[in-house]
Symmetry: C2
Subunit: 163 residues, 2 copies
DNA sequence: CTGGATCCGGTAGGATACTG
DNA sequence: CAGTATCCTACCGGATCCAG
């Protein structure tokens, strides 16, 4: 492995990492941060050590597969720490590393912003859809074009409990 | 549509939007922000009005389809403004709306962080891979387990040029 | 020039069942 | 409890052609 030659190091240093470039390693990092579950997992694990089951309960809707995968990625990237306590049954705790704790405060504002601006965005979406589908033949396909309306419906609070 | 009853409004207000809940509309917003291209597009369009072609050039590696799709989503959500100037040929400009300008400063730190911490993360990944594949039978399947090594290799700047 | 429409393969990711 | 293994589908996203 480690195909990084001296020439490559120089090339990388010259451009000083720009995520706008497709092949730049920082792009990979940026895309990791843009992963569907990374933000949520980071947020959940930030409040101190969390066990696997706790995370699964806290992050509603995540499948064991995705949770494990995400945790593995974060562990590999050095953002979370995985501690196995050899007992019966086994106990595994996840917590942020210093690097993760450095990143975390940049994530929360996003989650907070999302929660704070839901209404504004929903209004914008409705306005857009009205504008767009105004002269549509027979309504119907609103969901097709842009999956209109959000679908808050039921299930609200299934997991809200602790955290 | 607008199935939001008074009872629902109350329920929503009570929990005040929590992205940890699967069905919460803020989760949808959060996932939009976690889209692969949203961050980059937002960053690119933040520096003032940009034409479609300019964005395509600036964000290396994005296909016209994905760029259009992302811009549509952002427009629908009220984050970017699309202005069509009826000329020949047509001219289309994209720029941030006030809402988008409000969100933008939360995105850039992420991009900056990614660019700043590439080295730390790459080091962590290498260390992890060494630890993990240390006592593997015959190397070989390194890519299977975790797509080891990053793959910066060549292709650096291939797309920076045109497109 | 902008960008819609269509085809299509790869894979992300969800559900479920099973194991140390 | 903490995952892994398997299956399977939806949709991401690239290529291509077309239209205003």
């Amino acid at each position: 492995m480690t195909t990084r030659t001296a020439a490559q190091r120089r090339a990388e240093a010259k451009v000083a990492y720009d995520a706008f470039m497709a092949a730049c390693p920082s792009r990979k990092v940026f895309e990791m941060l843009s992963d569907k579950w990374v933000g949520l997992v980071l947020a959940a694990v930030s409040a101190g050590p969390r066990r696997y089951g706790e995370l699964k309960a806290e992050i509603a809707g995540v499948s064991p597969k995705m949770l494990t995968q995400t945790l593995r990625t974060l562990e590999r990237s050095g953002l979370v720490d995985r501690t196995v306590t050899a007992s019966v049954p086994v106990r595994v705790d996840y917590e942020l590393t210093p690097l993760g704790r450095d990143l975390y405060p940049l994530i929360t504002p996003l989650k907070a912003w999302a929660e704070a601006n839901v209404d504004a965005i929903r209004a914008a979406e409705q306005a857009y859809d009205l504008r767009t589908f105004a002269r549509e033949p027979t309504g119907a396909s609103a969901a097709t074009g842009a999956s209109a309306v959000i679908g808050v419906t039921a299930a609200m609070g299934v997991t809200a409990a602790r955290q």
